[in-house]
Structure formats: structure tokens, C-alpha cells
């Protein structure tokens, strides 16, 4: 699989330089608040029931062999076409 990822700091780089951070999910806890005690069912759905949808997916990648920063990506899971996502 060839996939080039546009890193906002390093430019387009091979996906093998990155660590996959999974599809972008709602967070445990709101920004600025941190995780709060959640309903266990909601938590379960959030952690386990991924969309894994064919099509454009928002996901996070960590540039391990590069700037060591996270970035967000929009990737079409069917074609591997990628575009930068919004900054976190």
C-alpha cells in the first residue's frame, strides 16, 4: 500500500513514517474538562463501536519518524485519497 500523508510540518511523507491513531472519535470528556464519569453504555459505544465506514473518514496519525506531532487527515478508505483535516 502506498499512501502519502501531508504533514503540516514536514510536507508529504510516506505513511510508514507514521503511527495510525484510528478514526477520529468523540472524546472521553469535553475539551477543557477532561474525562467525566460517563454512562457505561455510551462509553462502550464510543470505544468499541467504530464507524469503519467505506468513504471519507477523519482520522489521526502521529508522525513518529518525523516531527512527532499529531495531525488530522481526511482519508477515503476505499481509495486512500487523502486531504488534510482541520487542526485539532
Amino acid at each position: 500500500m502506498a499512501l502519502k500523508i501531508p504533514c503540516p510540518h514536514c510536507g508529504p511523507r510516506d505513511y510508514t513514517e507514521f503511527m495510525f491513531g484510528g478514526e477520529l472519535r468523540p472524546m472521553g470528556g469535553a475539551p477543557g474538562q477532561g474525562p467525566t464519569a460517563e454512562d457505561p453504555h455510551d462509553d462502550f459505544a464510543r470505544v468499541y463501536l467504530l464507524d469503519n465506514a467505506p468513504g471519507v473518514q477523519r482520522e489521526r496519525w502521529f508522525h513518529l519518524f518525523g516531527c512527532r506531532r499529531w495531525l488530522e487527515l481526511r482519508r477515503d478508505t476505499r481509495t486512500n485519497e487523502v486531504a488534510p483535516g482541520t487542526a485539532p
Partner: protein, 875 residues
């Protein structure tokens, strides 16, 4: 003049020879025995397409002798036949086709049931497909990536023209070809054109020429692994142009596999490139203009053409003096083990013509497997592969179109199909004849894909290059349903590939060394890989190293630990929300054991957190978890929008663990700071200066004795190490490595994450709930732990005492049932017994306490095994 070693006999080879041409010149005619019926097979295509010349070369089986250059000293032997390929008793199988009917492995030898495994062994040996060398280490090849705009596969006229056009349009280009350009083409206009085009490209800085590289297949991306003689090149081009040409159509008639039957190009190559006449006198069956050109080449090598069989359009152009039979059909080739005559069907009846070779030029089968496997990818084609049988000029024009503009690439033109006779081998690789296809059809296997699977047609080394078109034609001729027709699916790899080649580059890994590496080497340490780090496992005497820590003092290089500085106004909040322990109440100067859980509540990593001054923390993680820890810290800081900075200090700082009952005494010799129990008690840390080196000393307890982890600037590592070793010499100080650590930590019941734990271990399974402060409002993984706490604990980690030496990894039995597995074990001299850690499953509502590990009795006991109340490490 060089020579190769052919089955113990030296065989001379000339410059430019392949293994096949050298052997043929020396008189070898039988190159292989066929898979099922052990029929003699000789050279046929001479282009790397058919399976007739697969040999074992320097212990590597399945090498195509016809495309492999001959090299001095090469050891070549044939693979099939017993006792030998030349005199093969298994050739009797050819007299007994009834024993192996089509699909025999689905229906023969099936009753009684015990018979098949025995028969299968015999059959496997019988096939003679070579033997894998199992006593050799694979060759280590390097790998590199290439990312041209355009990759051209195939260095003929079409491919090179495409490369020239693409380069002319400003693209970077790579051209891959299995051999050297033009090397396999007889002298003539085609060869000259290829050489001219290659010469034009050689000067261009934007064109990379990968000769003698095999494009194995086209994968998603597109990615095209190209196996070269010394390296694997993973080409990731913007687009691909396939110009792999066409192979001459395989002729299907009775006796079509006898040695002496040649494809026209193969015969011309043997005569024109290697200067060896393919036979003494030939019958040539010619349906193509190119076949006419071959005649001159064959005659110039001294071959007599006894007769030409050709349609009217061609017949008129056959050189004078050669007898021509118009509009006849080649019905059969006859002979015992080689061609002795052919049977022609003419308007005036059948006629036998004596000859020792049959040269057939019946049409073309495009080498289109790469195109067909690349659906949905930016792959186009040029030359012979889309215009089978095109002229040199047409190929060049086609290549130029494909190279300059992807959208204008040619669409595949259907090749004229070589006729399918009533008899003969359709699939040479798997020994499948027309009769067998008919039998399978009669059994009800009436679609191309199913026929393929049932008869294994197209499933051999040629991957359908010779027979794919014939199989499709057979289904069409027999009135297969529309959806049952057409070519079968093409998948990579398209060419034979060795796992060793695809594994190119896997040995190229990052190797990290600590600042003390040279000191370890000088001390004679045994070094081993630990993740990407090189670390000492022992300095020679593991037992003495353990004793030093338990009775005096030992030092260990722990510079590989993950080390992070976390700072910023929101750092306390970040730490508190991430880790399972309370952080906000951690006073400067105190350290705490930390667990990092993922959102599913499973243990990811552990380490220590030290509170520095206001809002700054120093966090350590395991060696193997350092990268993941950094990513994890940064991810949450990002996503929560917290003002906290994470600085990975793993490779900036070194760390030496000084441990043992006399560790404090040793430090006092080298340090003016107060290292006493009040200032630096257990789970405290402080900045001290040891032998002039500024250190952060952390009182940790992994090995179960008083221990000081001295974190320091990497550049001061060796000075500190030497000072410690010098000052401790009279205390019996020893450095220790991972082997001693493994026992020391096991005596304390500490897990190695990943070795003693499973990916779905939450803290309760590991007995680590003491490190989880569930009264905190929230931390990552808390909700999952709450959710799981409602479920019964089905598996947990336990400590074991063994009656004798156990095996790590041994299954644990309670009665006859396997209920767990030993994950660590060792002989503890301090305790005088065998101890270990294991995971254990609940049986009938309770965890069994009396077990057997293999044949060894095991009892569940509490951990820590050594110093259970921790008095020694707290001192």
C-alpha cells in the same frame, strides 16, 4: 570461456549465454519432467513464460534457466524424475493416465480415509517441483523506495518509447525489465530500435533504468515491487505503463509438448542470439509475418527447413527453395521422447513429414496479467500487450501515446486465437490436456473459474501466460454461459518470487545504543537486542550479578527507559486525567507508580511520575513503551486543548540504577548531598551531584532493594558509570544486565508488560488495583474499569511455586484441562526454589490452586515471593 557445473559435469558457456542456451549447446534436450505424467519437456518459449526449463540453481529451486544468465561455477541440476530426469521410471505414469483422472485429488484414494495422507506424500515427491533448502540462512537483501511519476514495465520498443515520451513531457521515469535491454532479441531492425531508444534514455537524469529487475505484481497504491539481483526496489509511481509485450501463442495439438517443438521466437532466439541451431531439420508452421523473419535466422544458424506450412497470405513470401504446404493443419507431432515427424492435415488427406523440430508461429497471447490485476489503478498499456503482433513502428507509436498522455493509451485489441486442437496439453505447468478439460466439463464444471480450480489449469508457474487464453476459448467453444466465460482473475504475483526477495529490507532496523555502550563492550558484556535497543544481558556471571544486588550493590544501565518532562499551566490537569493514580496531591520531591490505561481499560504501560516544582513533572515509562507513551501524552494534550508541553528526554538523558543494601553507602562516598532515609526515602526523588555529575535520583523499587535511579545528562554517562564502579569495587559491586534483572524483578512478582501480560489485561487481572485510585473523578479508562468491575474476573495473573524446573510458556493443567500458561519462571537462589508468574483461568467458579506445568507440580502462592512486605526496598 567459463563453465557451469551441471549435475556434476562441467558445461562450457559463452559470453551472453543463459543456463538454458549453454546446456542446449552441450546437448541437453530434456530439461524437466512434467508434473503428473513425467513426460519429457524441452526448451519451448525461451522467454521466461513457459515452465519447461525450471531448474535448481545453487540450491534455489524453480529457477527459469532460459532467462538466468550463466555464471562461472553455478551449480545447476534438474528437479524432477526418479532416479534422474533423463532416465525417469515415473515416466510410466504417462502410460496410466487413468490412475490420475482430472480432479483426481478430489476423488481418488479417498477411501479408506487413512489412505490419502500417505498417497499425498508419495504424490508430492512424485511431482518433482524442487526441494527448498532448509539448512541455509536466506540471503539478506536491501530494499529501497523509488517514487517516479511514471513506471514503465518492459524495456522493448513500446516501453522505451513510452519512457522517452513521459520524460520528454517532464516526468520522472523508471523503466524495469527482466533482462538487459535487447539482450534476448536477435540482430535486426527490432534490436537496433531498442538499442537506439535505450541509448537515448541512458543519458537522461530523470530516467532510472532498472535492468535485470522483475516487476512481481501491481499492488494497491500503485506499488510495484521490483526484485533485482541485489536489492528489492519498491516502486511507488504516480502511474504505470505496462509494456510487457506478448508471448507467442501456445499451440495445442497432439504431441505439442515433445522436446523439439519450439515457439518461433524461442527457436529464433536460440539461433540468432546464442548461435545454436535449435535442431537439424524443421517443419515451420507459420501464421504470422514475424514467423517469416525467423526462417532466415534459423537457416543462418545452419538449420534446414524441411517444409513450411502457411496460409496463402504468408505462403507467397516464403523464400524460394523451401517446400511450402498451403492451408494445411498441424495435427500432431510424433516421436519417442522427441520430435521425429509431424502429421499434417491437408485438403488431399493426411501426410507425415519427417523432422526433428517443429517451429510454430501461430499468433500472440498478450502478457497482460499485470494489466488485468490492476483494475481501478492508474495503469495503462502500450505495444504488443495491447496490439498483439504489432510492427516495430506501431509499438513505438503506441508507447509514445501512452507515455505522453495517460488518457490516450491504447485499449486492448483481442488477439487472434491460436486454434485449440482435439488433443494436446493446454496447460504445460500442470499437465492438463484438452481431453481432461472435456472430462471436467462433462462432470459439470462449466465455467472458466471453476474449471481452473478443478483442473488447476493456469495455476502453475506460468500463471496462465500460455494457457489462459485457451481456457477462455474452450469455455466459449463449449457454450459456457456469458458469466462463465472470459479470462480468470489475475492476481499478484505475476512472476515467480522468493519470500526472501519480498522480505528485502526487513533486517534494516534502527539500532539504538545507550551512552554506556562502549563501556559494556569493553567490560565483555553479552549484548542482545531489546526492542530497538542493544543492551547487555550479562557480564558473564548472572548468579554473581544477582548476589551483588541482594547482598552488596549492583549497577545497571537503564538509560533506555522512556523519560519525559511535562510542563505548563495545565500539566497537573493533564497528568491527573491521564494516569490512574492521584497526581494533584503529589508533592514536589515525591514519586508515584503510574499505570497508563487505554480507553478500553487495558494496561498500556507503567512507570513513575515525579512531581518537580510547580506544574512540572518527570515521567518515566518502560523501554518498549516510550514511543507510544509520547504519542499518548501528546494526543490527549492536543485533544483536550490543554496548555501542557511534553518533552521526550529519552535519548537526551542516561540513567543508571544503583541497587542493593549498600547502595546508599556507595553514593555517600561520591556525593556531598544528603541521601539518607529522611531526604531520599522510598518513593522520593531529589537532585544530587554524584562524582561531579548532576543527577536526578529517584528511589524506585523494581528489584526489591534500596535503589537509586540516577538520571543524568547523556554525555556524563561514562564518567558516572566509571566513578560508581571504581568506588564500589571493594564492596563487590557488579554491573548486571537483563538476565539478572529478570530474576530480581520476578522475585518481587513484577510483570514485564507484554511478556507476562495479555493485550486485554486490566489492572484487576494483574493485581494492580492498588495503583488505581477509583475515587478520582475521572481518568482515561475509568468508565471501562467500572463497566468491567460488574463482570466476574475470569482470568488473573498468579505467582507459582514449582516442584522442579518448569518451562516458560508451558500450559498449566488442572486435571486434564488447560487452565493457564507460565509466562515467566526462574530459579531463585535467594529463596532456594523455582518460582514463576502465570495467567490462570477460573474453573467452575474458582481459581484452581494446585496445578501442573507440563509434568511439574505447581502451587499458587502470593507475590511478592521475596521480601513480601517490602521492608528492604523501603529502607
Amino acid at each position: 570461456m567459463t563453465s557451469i557445473d551441471f549435475e556434476g559435469t562441467p558445461v562450457e558457456s559463452n559470453e551472453g549465454d543463459t543456463i538454458a542456451s549453454a546446456l542446449f549447446r552441450a546437448g541437453v534436450r530434456t530439461f524437466t519432467r512434467s508434473l503428473k505424467y513425467h513426460r519429457r519437456r524441452g526448451l519451448y518459449c525461451l522467454s521466461g513464460d513457459c515452465p519447461n526449463c525450471l531448474m535448481t540453481v545453487d540450491d534455489v529451486p524453480g529457477v527459469r534457466a532460459c532467462t538466468t544468465p550463466a555464471r562461472s561455477g553455478q551449480r545447476v541440476r534438474r528437479e524432477s524424475g526418479s532416479p534422474s530426469t533423463e532416465r525417469d521410471l515415473l515416466g510410466l505414469a504417462d502410460k496410466a493416465h487413468r490412475l490420475m483422472p482430472v480432479g483426481f485429488y478430489y476423488k481418488s484414494f479417498t477411501k479408506p480415509r487413512w489412505l490419502w495422507p500417505l498417497v499425498e506424500k508419495v504424490i508430492r515427491r512424485h511431482t518433482g517441483v524442487g526441494t527448498l533448502p532448509v539448512d541455509q540462512l536466506p540471503q539478506r537483501k536491501g530494499a529501497r523506495h523509488a517514487r517516479p511519476d511514471v513506471l514503465v514495465i518492459g524495456g522493448g520498443v513500446g516501453g522505451l518509447a513510452a519512457a522517452r515520451a513521459a520524460a520528454g513531457a517532464g516526468a520522472t521515469v523508471a523503466v524495469v525489465d527482466e533482462g538487459r535491454f535487447a539482450a534476448a532479441i536477435p540482430a535486426g531492425p527490432l534490436r537496433r530500435r531498442i538499442e537506439d531508444l535505450a541509448a537515448e534514455l541512458r543519458g537522461l537524469p530523470t530516467v532510472e533504468l532498472l535492468e535485470q529487475h522483475v516487476a512481481v505484481g501491481i499492488y494497491e497504491g500503485p506499488t510495484v515491487p521490483c526484485v533485482g539481483p541485489h536489492e528489492l526496489v519498491e516502486v511507488e509511481p504516480g502511474r504505470v505503463i505496462v509494456a510487457t509485450g506478448a508471448v507467442e501463442a501456445h499451440g495445442v495439438f497432439a504431441g505439442n509438448d515433445l522436446p523439439g517443438v519450439w515457439l518461433g521466437r524461442g527457436a529464433a532466439r536460440m539461433a540468432g542470439v546464442h548461435g545454436v541451431a535449435p535442431g537439424r531439420w524443421a517443419v515451420a508452421v507459420i501464421d504470422t509475418t514475424e514467423g517469416l523473419e525467423h526462417l532466415a535466422i534459423l537457416r543462418s544458424a545452419g538449420m534446414r527447413v524441411a517444409e513450411v506450412v502457411a496460409p496463402d497470405a504468408i505462403a507467397g513470401r516464403v523464400p524460394a527453395g523451401i517446400p511450402v504446404t498451403r492451408n494445411a493443419r498441424l495435427l500432431a507431432a510424433h516421436g519417442r521422447g522427441r520430435v521425429e515427424s509431424v502429421l499434417l492435415g491437408t485438403a488431399r488427406g493426411e501426410r507425415t513429414v519427417a523432422c526433428d523440430s517443429v517451429v510454430i508461429s501461430l499468433g500472440y497471447a498478450p502478457r497482460d496479467a499485470l494489466v488485468r490485476m490492476a483494475e481501478g489503478l492508474p495503469v495503462s498499456a502500450a505495444g504488443d500487450v495491447v496490439i498483439p503482433g504489432c510492427t516495430v513502428e506501431e509499438a513505438e507509436a503506441s508507447g509514445t501515446r501512452a507515455g505522453s498522455d495517460a488518457g490516450r493509451a491504447d485499449h486492448a485489441r483481442e488477439p487472434a486465437q491460436a486454434p485449440l486442437g482435439a488433443e494436446g496439453y493446454v496447460c504445460l505447468c500442470e499437465d492438463v490436456g484438452v481431453e481432461e478439460l472435456r472430462a471436467a466439463w462433462a462432470e459439470g464444471w462449466t465455467s472458466a473459474e471453476i474449471l481452473k480450480r478443478y483442473t488447476t489449469t493456469t495455476m502453475g508457474p506460468c500463471q496462465g501466460a500460455m494457457c489462459g487464453g485457451h481456457l477462455a476459448a474452450f469455455v466459449e467453444d463449449h457454450g459456457g454461459a456469458p458469466q462463465a466465460q472470459g479470462r480468470t482473475t489475475a492476481r499478484p504475483p505475476a512472476r515467480t518470487v522468493r519470500l526472501e526477495d519480498l522480505a528485502g529490507g526487513v533486517n534494516e532496523v534502527i539500532e539504538k545504543r545507550t551512552a554506556l555502550h562502549d563501556a559494556h563492550v569493553a567490560a565483555g558484556a553479552t549484548l542482545d537486542r531489546s526492542g530497538s535497543w542493544i543492551r547487555p544481558s550479562t557480564y558473564g556471571d548472572v548468579a554473581a550479578e544477582i548476589r551483588a544486588v541482594r547482598e552488596g550493590v549492583g549497577v545497571m544501565d537503564v538509560g533506555t527507559l522512556g523519560k519525559f518532562l511535562v510542563a505548563g499551566p495545565d500539566a497537573p490537569q493533564l497528568m491527573d486525567r491521564l494516569f490512574t493514580c492521584r497526581v494533584r496531591d503529589l508533592k514536589p520531591g515525591r514519586a508515584r507508580y503510574l499505570l497508563a490505561l487505554d480507553e478500553a481499560g487495558y494496561v498500556m504501560d507503567d512507570g513513575l511520575i515525579c512531581a518537580l516544582d510547580a506544574g512540572r513533572y518527570y515521567v518515566t515509562s518502560t523501554t518498549g513503551g516510550a514511543d507510544a507513551m509520547e504519542a499518548w501524552l501528546l494526543n490527549w494534550a492536543d485533544r483536550w486543548h490543554l496548555r501542557a508541553l511534553v518533552l521526550n528526554q529519552t535519548s537526551m538523558l542516561g540513567a543508571i540504577n544503583v541497587a542493593g543494601p549498600r547502595a546508599r553507602e556507595l553514593l555517600q562516598r561520591l556525593c556531598d548531598d544528603d541521601v539518607g532515609p529522611a531526604a531520599l526515602g522510598y518513593a522520593r526523588h531529589g537532585d544530587i551531584t554524584v562524582a561531579g555529575v548532576d543527577c536526578r535520583a529517584i528511589r524506585s523499587g523494581f528489584v526489591g532493594e534500596v535503589s537509586f535511579e540516577l538520571h543524568h545528562r547523556r554525555s556524563s554517562g561514562e564518567a558516572l558509570w566509571d566513578a560508581l564502579r571504581g568506588a564500589g569495587a571493594d564492596m563487590g559491586l557488579r554491573p548486571h544486565g537483563l538476565d539478572a534483572l529478570d530474576v530480581l524483578r520476578l522475585e518481587k512478582g513484577h510483570s514485564y508488560l507484554g511478556q507476562d501480560t495479555l493485550p486485554d489485561d486490566h489492572p484487576a487481572k494483574l493485581g494492580l488495583m492498588w495503583a488505581v485510585h477509583m475515587d478520582k473523578p475521572a481518568f482515561v479508562g475509568k468508565t471501562a474499569l467500572l463497566r468491567m468491575s460488574a463482570l466476574p474476573l475470569e482470568r488473573k495473573q498468579v505467582g507459582l511455586d514449582f516442584a522442579a524446573e518448569p518451562q516458560r510458556g508451558a500450559p498449566l493443567y488442572a486435571g486434564d484441562a488447560i487452565v493457564g500458561r507460565v509466562t515467566s519462571c526462574a530459579r531463585s537462589e535467594a529463596l532456594g526454589r523455582w518460582i514463576g508468574l502465570a495467567w490462570l483461568r477460573r474453573v467452575d467458579g474458582a481459581f484452581p490452586a494446585r496445578l501442573r506445568a507440563g509434568g511439574i507440580g505447581a502451587t499458587v502462592v502470593d507475590t511478592p515471593f521475596y521480601d513480601p512486605d517490602g521492608a528492604r526496598q523501603r529502607a
